[in-house]
Symmetry: C2
Subunit: 314 residues, 2 copies
Amino acid sequence: MATLVSPPNFCAKEDAEALRKSVKGWGTNEKAIISILGHRNAGQRKEIRAAYEQLYQEDLLKPLESELSGDFEKAVYRWTLDPADRDAVLANVAIKKSTDVYNVIIEISCIHSPEELLAVRRAYQLRYKHSVEEDLAAHTTGDIRKLLVALVTAYRYDGHEINAKLANSEADILHDAIKDKAFNHEEIIRILSTRSKTQLMATFNKYRDDQGISISKNLLEEGANDFQKALHTAIRCLNDPKKYFEKVLRNAIKRVGTDEDALTRVIVTRAERDLRDIKEVYYKKNSVPLEQAVAKDTSGDYKAFLLTLLGKED
Amino acid sequence: MATLVSPPNFCAKEDAEALRKSVKGWGTNEKAIISILGHRNAGQRKEIRAAYEQLYQEDLLKPLESELSGDFEKAVYRWTLDPADRDAVLANVAIKKSTDVYNVIIEISCIHSPEELLAVRRAYQLRYKHSVEEDLAAHTTGDIRKLLVALVTAYRYDGHEINAKLANSEADILHDAIKDKAFNHEEIIRILSTRSKTQLMATFNKYRDDQGISISKNLLEEGANDFQKALHTAIRCLNDPKKYFEKVLRNAIKRVGTDEDALTRVIVTRAERDLRDIKEVYYKKNSVPLEQAVAKDTSGDYKAFLLTLLGKED
């Protein structure tokens, strides 16, 4: 379930006019921007951008970028983008800066449905005139490259059939590789990057039943270099995205100084999807409501915007 | 240019009725089947199958399969399929039988446009409840697997921009790998499987200008194990599909006993696309018209059907 609160009825033209006043008037009216954009779903934001473009011959993103600043600007800008295009931007920034590249690429590859991942690949090409795998492969090396490129180019079967025999044999293959510390074993990459999510779930369950320990825990027990961490992230994203995002939020908030990039990423990308469920998991694990934790670690317009996306009533 | 001759006006229902008579009457009327299906394009065949299904509650493919036989049956059956579905069948047969797997997978991966390749991947999933990369990865190993999976999962940028600097540096990378006989070098696979076709063309041209020999010739000069052959095929398919298909036809016909599978594959898959151009290349290289060579090597209904697809007037 989503946290975003958006009105069933809205007028794109009125919103565009109100936003124009907010960015072009005497001083920027951040509150108005938050109260409009923070309450519009992807389809509505798209209509608002189109209306704004038609009225003022300018992309709404331009004044948002120039009039706002810092984490608030980044959050509003990313939120306003079309979701697939936003993921393309996130992927490109991660690849170019080589920061968080594993996490961002793995999230996009392993959490999205096959069709959603494809939409991101399309959006990436439209925006950057390259394929995402092309840029990713050119900016990474070795085993990590093999894993990430295989994951991002996957177009998994999306059906719900389970082949129990296969789950059995591939749970063994995974365990043998982990036992032998052959983490970069081609078979691990093959299985994680080609099997359907339903099939993988069955394989991971079989692994846990056979070994008495989950594959993700087993992986980390054996130490954790970058490649193992990436594998671990992929398995978590494939297996239980909500639990995974809870952990990302927890780490982002716990860190001295707060990891705003991760915080913004999770809230902006999940607000229209499953942020309500992630909030629940967060509360169970931390005994503190997510809103409260976010409010404590952030401030000003950035805080107000994140809390709005988190479903706070105005 | 295509060789297929199909009427602008046709009636799917009439065709379906005529085909019904041809397969269900006293003795099968192969000539009628050839004269109808051999003159209908993909859209028309689709309509005929739909009309047949509606009239007789049966897929037209069923009687075609049961009433026809041998190479003729295979050719008519594959021709009647929707093109993306046909490629899915070709890929699956190649993967399962491990025959011609390199050629078929590389053709589909490197000759199709990114969207066409995607359509084949979708058709494959619909038909087999697996992804093509999943089956391919499970049935191959080692370097060949790396290459084929990377090619079949590609969703290349389809634009026409060329980055000359990149072509320069990647021509060098390719040459260094070939010079060192490091054919399985990850960089070769990365470049071939991620760069756009336009960019690759520029890279191959730069290679030829720098080295005085084309990359495909250079590859074969260094000996030819299976992996090198697969690389060679991929480069030819990316670079000049018509020349590549001419060679496939030449080899299929020259072989003692004729390679009907390859012959059928090229004619059936290219008749609505560029078979006229391939015929021209064939004539230039062999001084014998392709129709004549095919007629000499085949017989009966199979021969009549292939010649019809090759554009022979009735």
